[in-house]
């Protein structure tokens, strides 16, 4: 199957064509946003990291920024820094440049304050935007899709209709050579042994188990047991019988596709097919991680209605809850409530999701994009702020 995308110098394909104005540290956010606000076709990526953090976290921030700048949905990148940040800015600049796209950097302390830096940045971003507008979409294959998977604000419909339908879509996509990234390691707990068996080989399966164990240890360190009381009394009343069933409802969004590899947060997959990426479940960190890994489209299933989107990767919202579809329609792109009504099969719903992905990849806007509700962004860090 085909879609119309932007082929980049490094061979990857974008579904959007933005100039990314990326702040390298929290202190540069105001300037990054100020620049993007004045240039059509530019979007800002801001976050709360880059200073007063442990070396492992600073390395993670650096790596995520490289991944974000390298994302094929960005035609060009303007980095905005302060001058004293902990982020390895040289590395960020160098590695984004290695993708072949135009990238520049400006610093607030060097330029002499926010106003002057913003003014300089606007002029640079304008030029980048004009050049970006010369790039035209061309025919690309579904194997060029890198689909991020997310579920949020789940309800009964999620495990019964939306996630299994997305699983049908993912099975189809990976069969055609595309890539799907599943994160939200927290959701695997209770079914990780099952997911581990759905891997390419035992080594990958062990990596999945290690990911879950690591997430559990992080939480245990704060004195909390993640498995206790699962499923909850509310879950049981609603029909969920075991923790395996509950977690499988979440994992269902990958269908029976085989996990090819396990990646760290924000790491770009070097293989095609279904991959697992270390990440928590919260939108800002998860969506950012997907974008840093190179996702060019994200599908987000929701039961009760989650509104978030991301600045430069289209986030398609799908619900199986008819009430949510109507009640929060300004955030919803597609409904599979026909499955809950009994009128549509999971196979039919999965095919409709697939068509929606192709048209979104080709340029049809999502509700998150047209509503401007596309600001869920931050880089996942695990250590303390010091």
């Amino acid at each position: 199957m085909k879609f119309m995308g932007y082929r980049r110098a490094d061979g990857r394909v974008g579904t959007r064509n933005y100039v990314g104005v990326i702040s390298t540290v929290v202190c540069a956010n105001e300037v990054a946003r100020g620049i993007a606000a004045q240039v059509k076709g530019a979007v800002a990526f801001s976050h709360q990291q880059g200073c007063c953090q442990t070396p492992p976290d600073l390395a993670r921030v650096t790596k995520a920024l490289i991944g974000l700048g390298s994302n094929p949905n960005l035609a060009a990148v303007l980095l905005v820094g302060l001058g004293c940040e902990g982020t390895d800015v040289d590395s960020v600049l160098k590695k984004i440049a290695a993708t072949g796209k135009p990238v520049q950097i400006i610093g607030i302390q060097e330029e002499g304050g926010g106003a002057k830096t913003t003014a300089k940045g606007v002029l640079i971003a304008q030029q980048m935007a004009v050049e970006a507008s010369r790039i035209k979409r061309e025919e690309c294959a579904s194997s060029d899709l890198v689909l991020g998977l997310k579920c949020g604000s789940s309800d009964t419909t999620s495990g019964l209709s939306t996630n299994p339908a997305l699983g049908v879509t993912v099975e189809r996509l990976v069969k055609e050579g595309g890539t799907a990234i599943m994160g939200e390691v927290t959701e695997f707990i209770g079914a990780e042994h099952i997911l581990a068996k759905q891997c390419k080989n035992e080594a990958v399966g062990r990596q999945v188990l290690a990911l879950v164990d690591r997430m559990e240890q992080r939480v245990k360190a704060t004195g909390v047991d993640m498995r206790g009381g699962q499923p909850t009394p509310g879950n049981i009343k609603g029909g969920l019988t075991t923790i395996e069933e509950k977690s499988l409802g979440a994992i269902a969004k990958a269908g029976k596709a085989i996990v090819q590899a396990v990646y760290e947060y924000g790491e770009t997959p070097v293989v095609k097919g279904l991959v697992v990426m270390d990440s928590p479940g919260r939108e800002p960190e998860l969506l950012t991680g997907m974008a840093a890994a190179g996702a060019n489209v994200i599908v987000f299933t929701t039961g009760r209605g989650a509104p978030q989107g991301f600045p430069f990767v289209p986030v398609i919202k799908i619900t199986g809850n008819e009430k949510t579809w109507q009640h929060m329609n300004d955030h919803m792109d597609l409904s599979v409530h026909g499955v809950m009504d009994g009128d549509e099969s999971l196979l039919q719903a999965g095919d409709r999701i697939y068509e929606k992905i192709l048209e979104t990849a080709s340029g049809v806007d999502t509700k998150a994009e047209v509503s401007g509700y596309a600001q869920a962004m931050d880089i996942y860090v695990t250590g303390p702020v010091i």
Binding site: P164, G239, T241
Partner: protein, 96 residues
């Protein structure tokens, strides 16, 4: 045709109700594009499961094409499948 319950995968031995099903009702169960008819021998609430074929004590309960637990007693087709006749396989340390 309208479905009352769906089996996510062909291999599943349970289907999940997408509406309340009354005891004695003939439930239309969707399996991929096919629909089969199973008589619900007990009331099955929305979100709850009914067996689509006989399940023996000790058999795995299959949903999403995978084991989600084990039957703690024999279960007939059309019966309610839940915490009273299923145990989690995670709960047994030897099966971790």
């Amino acid at each position: 045709m309208r479905r009352h319950a769906i089996a996510i995968k062909n291999e599943d031995n349970v289907a999940t109700a997408i509406c309340d099903i009354a005891a004695g009702e003939q439930a239309m169960v969707g399996v991929d594009d096919a629909i089969i008819s199973i008589k619900a021998t007990q009331a099955i609430d929305l979100g709850h499961k009914l067996a689509v074929r006989a399940i023996r004590k000790g058999d795995e309960i299959l949903k999403y094409g995978t084991g989600i637990g084990r039957a703690t007693q024999d279960i007939q087709a059309g019966e309610h499948v839940h915490v009273h006749n299923v145990e989690s396989m995670r709960g047994r340390g030897d099966l971790a």
